[in-house]
Amino acid sequence: MKFKSDSSTAADQMWQMSCLQSEISFACAVVLTLFFKNKVSGIAASFLMMAVVNGTSLFFLFHNRINKKIEVSCFVYIANVVAVGFGVLINHHFWLKMGTPFEAFFGFKIVAIIIALQAPVVTWVGWSSLIFLFVAPLTQYFIWSPEQQGLLGIQEPGFTAVVILSCGFIYFQRLKILEMVKKQAQLKASEVEIRRFAHLLLGAQHLINSPLQVIESGIDLIRIKHPDTEPIVKKIEASFEPIRHVSRLLSFGRQHLNWDEVNLALTVEDLEKEIQKISSSVEQARPPQL
């Protein structure tokens, strides 16, 4: 089953991950069920149970393909992990019953490695899956009688525990790297926006500097031609001073300008268009409500 999505939101990623996991688990469970069908019926039944859960997961995901509710994808992901875990626990029970030597908790290790490398974007899903994979085999091991425990290799259950703890460490590191990459991307994006904003302010300054100079020179000319207006001119100048200061402040970003690419607004209409562009990109950058 292939469901493609171009969007890269957390909900989309979680949905795609759950789909991939369900598809692989379902295919493996079906093959193993068929393989053990005529050999060990109990083991075949455990894989059949896995196939049913994984198949049901696919059914839920298919119905969730439009809205892609993240809760459904998370639930399905954990359900698949638990189904695989219980499938392994059940077939271990039958292997022990038969007294046949077998490789213990192999499925748990494989699933833990996949989770560590696949790193679900919703962290509580990854951690709760790994905790389940750590607790379940140890619980089963300590439920077994000493004779049954003796059928396993001397390294168990320690080896399984160490592998799953190592997977937890890998997962932790991956989350840290993902967080760093995300922060870097956010920093880069905000730098671009700040640069754009500085550019906008500089455009505004460009548009008002000549009119301000006209006012400034006009006041000076009035003073020269009509010396009796001095008291009024002083008042106008006092009010003009903060405007002059604000105009200088608008150019704070000019040291970051690339003069080869600079294309400042030459009219108020151009400036208005620029403001609308920034306004709509700020609107688009708003994080989705999950």
Partner: protein
């Protein structure tokens, strides 16, 4: 007779005001042009003046004050050049001109400062102009 001061400025109101201020304060003649094309068309007049003030942005896709500055250098203009700019102060070409001794003023600047600098040049031929703002 050639004007003493030449303005290159695309804003007509500003051209008129600056011209009036300089003429009434310093009793010298001024000429003002709105584009680099007009400035070059009056080459003889411009090159004989003592002071040239250049605005940088002169309209959409129009040659800038920097082009005018380069033209003046090519023509070996030996008067004083000033940039009167709103935002072009950090432009590398303007910065290079500043290092070469050109004074850069940022709009808005008081006319008193302009007049006082011009007075120094005209009276004493001062080379050290204080006032890169």
């Amino acid at each position: 007779m050639s004007p003493t001061v030449v303005f290159l400025e695309d804003n007509q109101d500003l051209r008129d005001l600056l011209q009036s201020i300089i003429e009434s304060s310093l009793q010298v003649s001024c000429a003002a042009y709105e584009s680099v094309k007009n400035l070059i068309a009056n080459e003889a007049t411009v090159l004989q003046s003592r002071i040239v003030i250049l605005d940088i942005e002169l309209g959409f896709k129009q040659p800038t004050g920097i082009d005018a500055y380069q033209w003046l250098i090519e023509k070996k203009f030996n008067g004083h050049i000033f940039f009167l700019t709103g935002h072009g102060y950090s432009n590398p070409l303007v910065q290079a001109a500043s290092k070469a001794g050109v004074t850069i003023w940022e709009k808005p600047i008081s006319s008193a400062q302009i007049v006082s600098n011009f007075k120094s040049i005209l009276e004493y031929g001062a080379q050290d102009i204080v006032g890169a703002v």
